[in-house]
Each structure stands twice: as structure tokens, then as C-alpha cells.
């Protein structure tokens, strides 16, 4: 469409040549976009109106999948509740703790790069390794925490096997593996001009004032970025609940993406899974748009090298 708009303006010969060269260079991506992004998106709209199990041809059932989802499937609303619970807690907690950790790393600190490495590494080790470790640490019988609790004569904490604890435990793990956000925040903090702090100090602002009136506004674009990214990520959380609780106990950790995975790859209901995916995509798109709109009132684009 960009190309069509450009040709309307009538290109000179040189421009046409550069357009062709440019398009040739980006053609792998352009082709890939059509095949691996646009076509799947469009076909998934079609499949969402069908019953399709990959073996028999797809059968058109109109709004059947959507109707079932909203009105005939009690599990769907449990899953929605679980997901809202998880996203609602893990995203704000994650962004706040990541920002706090980055702020601590941004001060004068002995062994700063060691601390940075310690905060960052959990987010890059293979997820399956983290899952095995947490499974072990949180185990009721053999886990280190419950062993200590038992020795102290206290009741054990059923981290992954009780409805009350399973979701908070998964949120805790998500807070452990967020080093990427910390590193991005740290880079933003280092870009805040020193002169601002010095000027404020001269004017008698204390550390808390400086943090609130300089650090946060100057970093607000990156706060928005991390908020959006972790928001989209949390909505799709799949691997940790899949490996640690497999959705249980009593479906209390069956989040949206896992329900979608089950419909598609355990029950062979491709059409239902596509319908679920589109509902999620719409919700995420609307909420992300709202986040961006709200940003006008709290994100400050004025400073730094922009």
C-alpha cells in the first residue's frame, strides 16, 4: 500500500530505479510478511468460523465457536478470570520491581556489574531449566522451603498444589525472570542528564523529590514501553504454568494461552482455537491502545537525545 501510494505521485526514473532496488533488498521480509504473517492472520479469521480438526475438511459453522466460548463453556470464564488475575498482578508488580532494581543499580554501588549479572541471568537461562528448579524448590515433600518449614514445626506451603497458592507462586517466578526489563530501565536511567539532578539538588530537592520529579518523568517513555511489552507477554504466558502446574490444581492456573493450546493441540479443535486467539488479540489491541492514549497524560517526551 505504501508502494501504491508512492507510485501515484509519479516517480522520476531515478526514483523508480531506487524503488526497485529497495524492494528487491527487502523482498525476503516482504514475502515472509505475506506468507507467515498476513496469510495466517486472514486464514485464521476464516477458520474461526469453522469446525476443523486437520483431518476432515473445515465445516462452516458461522459464529458457533464464539457462541460456545461465551455462553456454553464455563471453563472459558475461569480461564479469563485466571488470566486477569495473573496479568493484573504480575505486570504492575514486575514493572515496579524492575524499575526499583534498575534504580538501585544506577547508584554508586560496589560490585555493580555482579549484581546486574545476578538480576539478569535468570531471564536468559532456558525456561525448562528454570521450571525444573522451581518445581524442586516449591515441592511439598522435598522442596527446600518446605523442608525448613517442617523442621521449624510450621505448616508447609503447598506452592503449586493449592488453589490459593498456585497463581501467586507463578507470579513470583515471573518476577524472578525479568532481567531484560531491568537492563532496559538501567540504560534509560543512565541517559537522564546529570545536570538536572545537580540543579535540583542546588534548589534543595531531596532524593525522594528528585526520584519523583526527575527520574520518573524522564524515564516515562521507557516505563510505557516496558509496560506494553510485559502486558502483551503476560497475556500469553504459557510455558511456566504448562511445565509447573499444567493448569491445575482445579484449573486454577489454566491461563488463556494454555486453554488455546489445549483446544488446538490436545482436542484438535483448530477453529475454536482461532476464535479464542482473535478474541484475545482484540482485547490486547484495545487495552494496548488505551494504555497508549492514557500515556499522553503521564508520559513525558521532551528530554534526552530524542
Amino acid at each position: 500500500m505504501a508502494v501504491a501510494a508512492a507510485t501515484k505521485r509519479r516517480l522520476s526514473r531515478g526514483e523508480t530505479r531506487s524503488l526497485i532496488t529497495g524492494l528487491l533488498f527487502v523482498s525476503p521480509w516482504l514475502l515472509g510478511f505475506l506468507i507467515w504473517t498476513l496469510y495466517p492472520l486472514v486464514s485464521s479469521v476464516y477458520y474461526s468460523f469453522t469446525r476443523y480438526d486437520l483431518v476432515r475438511p473445515a465445516i462452516w459453522i458461522g459464529l458457533g465457536n464464539y457462541q460456545e466460548m461465551f455462553f456454553d463453556d464455563a471453563r472459558f470464564w475461569t480461564v479469563v478470570y485466571n488470566t486477569i488475575y495473573y496479568v493484573g498482578l504480575s505486570v504492575p508488580l514486575g514493572v515496579m520491581t524492575a524499575f526499583l532494581m534498575a534504580s538501585l543499580l544506577n547508584t554508586k554501588l560496589v560490585l555493580r556489574s555482579t549484581f546486574r549479572a545476578i538480576f539478569y541471568i535468570p531471564s536468559i537461562v532456558p525456561a525448562v531449566c528454570s521450571a525444573m528448579v522451581w518445581l524442586f524448590i516449591f515441592n511439598n515433600q522435598y522442596g527446600v522451603i518446605n523442608n525448613v518449614l517442617r523442621a521449624a514445626g510450621r505448616p508447609i506451603i503447598p506452592f503449586l498444589s493449592s488453589i490459593e497458592w498456585a497463581k501467586p507462586s507463578l507470579i513470583l517466578i515471573s518476577l524472578w525472570a525479568q532481567g531484560t526489563a531491568v537492563v532496559i530501565f538501567l540504560a534509560a536511567l543512565q541517559d537522564v542528564p546529570r545536570s538536572l539532578y545537580e540543579a535540583a539538588t542546588v534548589d534543595g530537592a531531596n532524593a525522594l523529590h528528585r526520584f519523583w520529579h526527575i527520574t520518573i518523568p524522564m524515564c516515562s517513555p521507557i516505563i510505557l514501553y516496558n509496560l506494553v511489552m510485559s502486558f502483551i507477554g503476560a497475556f500469553q504466558t504459557f510455558l511456566m504454568p504448562y511445565l509447573l502446574t499444567n493448569g491445575g490444581p482445579m484449573a486454577s492456573t489454566e491461563f488463556y494461552a494454555m486453554n488455546l493450546y489445549r483446544q488446538a493441540f490436545e482436542f484438535g479443535r483448530m477453529g475454536k482455537a482461532c476464535a479464542l486467539a482473535w478474541v484475545m488479540a482484540l482485547v490486547v489491541a484495545v487495552l494496548t491502545a488505551l494504555l497508549f492514549r492514557s500515556s499522553g497524560s503521564w508520559v513525558f517526551y521532551g528530554g534526552g537525545d530524542r
Binding site: L23, F136, I184, D191
Partner: protein, 299 residues
Amino acid sequence: MTAATQNVRVTAQQEGKSLSRVIPEIVKYLIVITLAVSYAFPLYWMISSALKTDPQVYRIPPVLVPNPAQWVNFINAWNSDNFTLYTFNSIFRYAIPYMLFTIASSSVVAYGFSRLRWPGRDKLFYLCIGTMLIPYTVTMVPLFIIFSQLKWIGTYWPMIFPALFGNAFYIFMLRQFFMTLPEELAEAARIDGASELGIFFRIILPLARPALAVVALFSFMGTWNDYLGPLIYINKYTMYPLALGIQKLRNMMSQVGNAPLAYPYLMAVSTIAAAPIILIFFFAQRTFIEGIALTGLKG
């Protein structure tokens, strides 16, 4: 530090307020150390448990440093299943093809998005980075349908073939790097009659080696760590990557019903799988941090 802050500090010290400076420092270190200990503990526990005997795993108070360390756990755990084959699959069937495909395609595309001027370029580029916002769950199922129609289920093609078409994240990273290269180099070659392809291969690519190394590093980690892709597409044990092999060991251990040494073995294999990533991080710490920060900040 400017003269102004120094003045403030001097007057503060003159008034004997040094204690009010020390206490916040102590509080700060207490918070940082508490955080660091709790962040480091899980991976520390993984490594130390890998070196324990069965009774040591469950002993109270917890054994922090097993002595003597059971190094033999690593060998026995490794041989308890076909982990050599799984590692081979991870590297040669997945990581390396993916890496080569990604570097080849993403660098060409990034060149087109950065060093060439053509109408509509920036609009297409925004579309390209915009695709990064599309939740993968939306394309996961229709892509599976495509690949099952192509009869590619059970192979690594669904995971590596699309890499031939470039990856928005790496295109973005390489473009940012190409933009920093001086225009004069290419200009001189252009006057000498070099083609764009020639400029790309002979001038830009050799200069971009550090950036290509970052892409190689990140894409290796992405595939080595990937669980969901193989979970969906790989259905034979002989094709398993290491990540799925670890989960298989866990299932084997729990089927036997608390098999002896279940946790030390599981931790040993997990340690081996995490080791390359941790080592890469320590060797390339700067590259890592800068790469992450760059993509975050300019995004």
C-alpha cells in the same frame, strides 16, 4: 560532580551530618544484597543439588555446599537418556540452520531498510517492526495448519524455514547498526561503479561483523532455549531437542515414583543445558547489555 554539589557536600559534612549519609547507604546495600541472594538462590540451588547424593538433597538444615561433590551425577544423568542425541538435534537441526538463515536474510533486508533511499521505505519499515507486536498465539494455530498441509510436522522445517525470510527483531537490530556506518564509504564505491549488492557484500557486511555476532548470539540463545516450537512440531523422541529431553527425563523420573536421585539428575541435566547460556553471557556481557538496551530504547 560539579562544584555546586561539592559545596553542598562540604557544608553538610561541616554540620556533622555524615550519619544521615551513612544510614541510607546501609539500607540500600541491605536491599540490594537481599534481592541478589534471592535472585541467585534458585540457580545456585540447581547447581549445588546436581552435586548431591539423595539423602543430602532432603537433609535439614539444607546442604549448601555438598562435600564431597558427586561429579559422577553429571555423567550418570547424561547417560540416563539419549541426551547426546538431543543436544545434537538442538545444535545441528535447529540452532545452526536457524542462525545461518536469519543472518543471511535479516542482513540483506536491514540493508534495504537503512542504506538505500526509496519511496515508501519508512512506512514498510514501521510495518515490519509493528509485526513484533502481534501476539504469537494469534498466528500459532494458522501456521500449524499451513505446516501440516505441507507435511512438515515432525521436522524442524516449521521452525527454521521462516527464518529465511528475515526476523523483524534482528532486522531492526541490524538496521540500527547499519545506520551508524559512515555514508562516504558506500558513496566512493558507488562512484567507482559498484552495484548495491557489491557494496553490501564487500563494504557493509565486513564492517558489520560485531553486529552480526550479536544476531548470531541472540538467535542461538533463542533456539537453544525454545520449548514451545519443538513441543508443537516435534513428535518423535529421536528428533527431540535438549529442552524437550529434560522434560522427558522428569516424566520418566515421576513415573517410576520418586526414582532414586531423581532431583540430582534433573538438576544436573538442567545445569548442563543452562551452562552454555551462562558462559556466553559472561564472555559477551557488554554485547548483551548493549544489545538489549539498544533495542529497548530506540523501540
